[in-house]
């Protein structure tokens, strides 16, 4: 017997019972649809002990038949909104193999409609809004949208972008920064152009490097966001992290996203096309040996532990990552209870924002044991290594979904990310 939960049929998306079962050295989701048959999907490959990773984060399964069909945050949801995503366009200047939002055109939202939505979603002084798409920079009025988000009280405005427009001229990054943009999440899949060509259709490395330089010139922090796909870039996890750390403080962190099969996908996924969170963790620690201290990537406290990890570091004067958080197994998981969305938002914003260029390393010596140097260095060179494993119709577990803190806003409704983009596989 495994742990009972609920999922959906990957074909018709109807809610069905499911079970998380340990077998063959891993953990699988078993479920059966009366119409479309039985399904078994890998969840965890046993590189890290799943029970220890989850700790005491799970309660009894939700029995509400409304979830996820009638999704929009409801009293059964267990987490508040940490980050809210607003789609500002469906247009995109790339045609990627995988795209959760599936791009592909459609009517462009009017500025007035987006401004009204920003007003609805904002909690003045608190909200972290992600302007997403499509590719948001395809909108000529993006700087005005950033300014509108700030005007209605959003505390942080994040841009999710492939970086191509940012690479074109430094003045564009300046315009966004002047409008109030806080930081950029930049798609960045590898240190080798062959990876970009396979995933995004063309070599992009030089453009990404230029985009990072342009953001740096405007004091905009950049977090690199690789989509990790088996057989494409799983060998480059350490390479991406090394490059990112070498680009600190312009680059503030790396946010790994194992591929999820939402929206546009090349084919229904087999287990070989999945890269589980524990595989990512093990691969990253192995490939980044000597740079990334082992055991410092911790289960998400804000979302479900199977949905992500986070590590908090400072890039030392020797170019290595010095850990700020406690090691795994030292009381850092399970016993501390979940973080609130407010706590998480404050944490990520503190790291992803670049401080104004004041109070820089005024201490006598560049030694992290010096209290003054440490304090200023963490502000300027704080660095996060994080991951988010989105769920799709194959591996969706409603208990994980209930803990989601990343919500898409769509005309009055806040919807957990993986519920909003959930899409059925072809039968």
């Amino acid at each position: 017997m495994g742990r009972r939960t609920y999922s959906v049929c990957p074909v018709c998306l109807k809610r069905i019972p499911a079970e998380r079962v340990d077998e063959d050295g891993g953990t699988f989701l078993h479920k059966a649809c009366p119409e479309h048959g039985a399904f078994r999907t890998i969840l965890w490959r046993g590189r890290t002990d799943l029970d220890a990773w989850i700790g005491n984060a799970e309660g009894a399964p939700l029995e509400s038949p409304r979830c996820p069909e009638a999704c929009g945050l409801c009293p059964d949801h267990l987490q508040g909104t940490c980050c809210v995503l607003l789609e500002v366009t469906k247009r995109c200047d790339l045609a990627c193999r995988f795209c959760f939002a599936d791009g592909g055109g459609g009517a462009e939202p009017a500025f007035g409609d987006l401004e009204a939505q920003l007003r609805q979603l904002a909690v003045p002084g608190k909200t972290l809004v992600q302007l997403s798409g499509g590719e948001p920079t395809t909108r000529a009025d993006l700087p005005e949208l950033v300014a509108a988000a700030k005007a209605v009280g959003c505390r942080y405005v994040q841009l999710n972008s492939n970086g191509l427009r940012l690479a074109e001229d430094a003045g564009y990054a300046r315009a966004l920064a002047d409008a109030g943009l806080s930081f950029v999440f930049m798609q960045f899949d590898g240190t080798d152009d062959a990876i970009h060509a396979r995933l995004r259709g063309r070599p992009l490395l030089a453009a990404k490097r230029r985009a990072i330089e342009h953001c740096a010139a405007s004091n905009l922090g950049v977090t690199l966001v690789p989509t990790v796909v088996p057989g494409v870039n799983t060998h480059d996890l350490g390479g991406i992290l090394r490059l990112a750390v070498s680009l600190a403080p312009a680059v503030r962190g790396v946010h790994f996203q194992p591929v999820s099969h939402l929206g546009r996908i090349p084919a229904p996924p087999t287990d070989e096309l999945r890269f589980t969170l524990d595989e990512l963790l093990a691969g990253l620690e192995r490939q980044a040996e000597g740079l990334l201290p082992p055991g410092r990537l911790l289960p998400s406290h804000c979302d479900h532990p199977m949905c992500g990890f986070h590590g908090d570091f400072v890039v030392g004067p020797d170019g290595r990552l010095a850990p700020l958080s406690r090691p795994r197994g030292a009381g850092s998981e399970g016993c501390c209870g979940p973080a609130t969305a407010d706590q998480n938002r404050a944490f990520v914003a503190r790291r992803w924002l670049r401080p104004l260029p004041v109070k820089l390393e005024e201490a006598c010596c560049q030694d992290l044991r010096d209290l003054d140097y440490f304090s200023s260095r963490v502000q300027t060179h704080g660095f996060t290594v994080t991951a988010m494993a989105f769920q799709d119709a194959g591996n969706l577990d409603l208990e994980r979904l209930r803990r989601c803190s990343l919500h898409v806003f769509d005309h009055g409704r806040f919807v957990p990310f993986c519920a909003y983009y959930l899409s059925g596989f072809p039968s």
Partner: protein, 64 residues
């Protein structure tokens, strides 16, 4: 530090002296100039340090 005043160690009756002092906080080892008794080694942590730089470090390291 503590302004113009001379602070005296209650046990040793010796004047505290500014010294580079190692200390461990939140699992990290730091050093800072602090007033220390040359006799027993007792350290005086002024309010401005506790509520200022140390609090700032604590906030920087606060996990989510």
């Amino acid at each position: 530090m503590a302004g113009e005043r001379t602070l005296i160690c209650h046990s040793c009756q010796l004047a505290l002296e500014p010294r580079k002092t190692d200390f461990t906080y939140l699992g990290h080892t730091f050093y800072a100039d602090m007033l220390r008794c040359p006799g027993c080694g007792e350290v005086f942590i002024p309010e401005e340090l506790a509520k200022g730089r140390i609090a700032e470090v604590e906030m920087q390291m606060e996990d989510k």
